[in-house]
């Protein structure tokens, strides 16, 4: 299905909040509570059949909160979707998709440690990429990139005026 057709179909289900098509790619937003229900529809509905799990991650939108992005693909129908939801910064928490796609397991672990988003029902949110003693959530915008902070930028210098 083309992104527009898919958007039309998905909007009819009433499970999603809004859609957007850009550069030939479709994004669907679900509410936090409807996250799993929407995902189930995407997987099970015969017209969607999103059987391929591409990735799950998040974007730090600063004041607006975190946008969780889950990219899905259907090998059978050959269409894509960016399945998104917006989480408030104060309470970043979401139901897990682990039961629907096996690949969500590690993806959610990664998102948890890098953004500090909790996935309820995941049950195994240990650190994946970072060392166990690491503190902080590196991909949040308020986390400073130390390698850029501790060294002076060599490009700062300007030629000195001769006295």
């Amino acid at each position: 299905m083309t992104p527009e057709e898919l958007a039309k179909h998905l909007n009819e289900t009433g499970l999603f909040e809004r859609d957007e098509v850009a550069h030939g790619e479709l994004s669907m937003w679900a509410s936090r509570d409807g996250w799993v229900a929407g995902a189930e529809h995407l997987k099970e509905c015969g017209r969607c059949r999103f059987d391929f799990f591409t990735f799950i991650s998040a974007v730090d939108l600063e004041d607006e909160g975190f946008e969780v992005v889950c990219h899905l693909y259907s090998v059978r129908r050959q269409h894509h979707i960016n399945y998104k939801t917006l989480l408030p910064r104060t309470e970043p928490r979401l139901r897990t998709l682990k039961g629907l796609w096996l690949g969500a397991d590690w993806g959610e672990r990664e998102t948890h440690e890098l953004f500090g988003i909790d996935f309820d029902g995941h049950g195994d949110l240990r650190k994946l990429l970072l060392p166990d003693e690491f503190e902080g959530f590196p991909l949040r915008k308020d986390f400073l990139l130390m390698s850029r902070e501790i060294k002076e930028w060599p490009g700062l210098k300007e030629p000195e005026e001769v006295k």
Binding site: F52, T54, S57, V59
Partner: protein, 392 residues
């Protein structure tokens, strides 16, 4: 439950080995042994660690531990402009550097809606396919090495050396090419490149027969790999496994075919698939993919048009407009995708890199449960991954 055991705290310190407890009259109770394969172990080629629960030589549970090479690509990308990111993206999957940089340039070009000159697109295909051959040869060799046949590895390096020399003449790099630029390429091919390239295609095609004789036709190799580590297509898709592994499981998914980028729709090639999804099929698919890549390279030689390699009117500053896109490319090991969110700055707001090796490795526990310890090698070697690509 062994699978819930935390990888951080391991029962059984050094030297404890197997503890045999006499349970009763004439009975022998054995305990499960924990064996940590890696992070420095010959068969994990890199710093992957797999914590195994062993019942004798049978693997009861397997937990991959990753992250030893995590370099925070996503974070670093937020502090770099797009040209710098190209140089950076070279480095995570060091065996398919060109494929990595291709993905990010395509993403930026899609956001900026740039027209890439024809010649640049064809040259990109040429180098990308050579890079694929380079990558696959490495795994063709190392799989044999892990099963104990050391010779294919050296043959693979012999072939790789020739290809690397060829690509070095064009790009200046043996592994990290940094040849792409947003809008096109850094510079055009040097004179004589096409002739050398087509000579090399013939040479490599001939030498591939050596691998066939040493491995594919070898009875011991078949014994070690046939019906070992069978991965059904549905499971593979659910894990997000791509590339040769998914194709070996019988799913002919290859974005060069299903959603062609560059000019892959103008060349003829096949997507090889396997029938059983076992280690042998994965290896066979890898081998066939090299043959297909060589076919593509030959077609590019014939079709390469003349012209510029970078648009005449390139914006001075590369600042993609506000928006987002996900671009996927069929990299050597599978789908490398970049989810790029731009806020109009010269640095991306967020660049999520989706790497094939990460998903391949996440699937390892599924394949390893219940196989023998020696089969660990046959499975790990055929689940093609680069540790830098797993950890990023």
């Amino acid at each position: 439950m062994p699978s819930e055991r935390s990888a951080g705290v391991l029962p059984g310190g050094p030297g404890e080995g197997v503890q045999v407890v006499i349970a009763g009259e004439g009975e022998l109770a054995t305990q499960e042994m924990t064996l940590s394969i890696g992070p420095q172990h010959p068969s994990t080629h890199g710093v992957l660690r797999v914590v195994l629960g062993l019942d004798g030589e049978r693997i009861a549970s397997a937990i991959p531990v990753i992250g030893y090479m995590h370099r925070a690509f996503d974070k670093l990308a937020e502090a770099r402009d797009y040209r710098q990111i190209i140089a950076l993206s070279n480095r995570h999957d060091w065996l398919s550097a060109f494929g990595n940089e291709l993905g990010i340039t395509l993403a930026v070009e899609r956001l900026m809606e740039l027209e890439v000159p024809e010649r640049a697109q064809w040259i990109r295909m040429l180098v990308a396919e050579w890079n694929r051959v380079l990558n696959h040869l490495m795994f063709l060799g190392s799989f044999g090495l892990e099963l104990g046949a050391m010779t294919p590895m050296f043959y693979a390096f012999r072939e790789r050396e020739d290809i690397q020399h060829l690509l070095e003449a064009a790009t200046g790099g043996r592994m990290h090419f940094t040849y792409n630029r947003v809008g096109g390429l850094k510079e055009d091919l040097p004179r004589g490149f096409l002739k050398e390239s087509s000579d090399l295609v013939r040479k490599i095609r001939h030498r591939l027969l050596d691998y066939e004789g040493l491995l594919l036709g070898n009875e011991i190799f078949k014994k070690r790999t046939v019906s070992i580590g069978v991965l059904p297509g549905e499971i593979a898709k659910s894990y997000g496994v791509t590339g040769p592994i998914l194709q070996a499981s019988g799913v002919a998914e290859d974005s060069r075919k299903t959603e062609p980028y560059l000019h892959y729709d103008q060349v003829e090639f096949e997507v090889p698939t396997g029938a059983h999804g076992d280690s042998f099929d994965r290896f066979l698919v890898l081998y066939r993919r090299i043959e297909e890549s060589l076919k593509i390279i030959e077609q590019v030689h014939d079709k390469l048009p003349a012209g510029p390699i970078i648009p005449a009117k390139m914006p001075k500053n590369i600042k993609p407009p506000e928006g987002w896109t996900y671009v996927r490319t069929e990299n050597s090991l599978g789908e490398t995708g970049y989810y790029l969110v731009s806020r109009g700055g010269k640095e991306p707001w967020r660049l999520k890199m989706r790497t094939p090796s990460f998903h391949n490795v996440s699937m390892i526990p599924y394949l390893l449960e219940g196989v023998l310890l020696p089969d660990l090698i046959a499975v790990l070697g055929s689940v093609f991954f680069v540790v830098g690509d797993v950890d990023r």
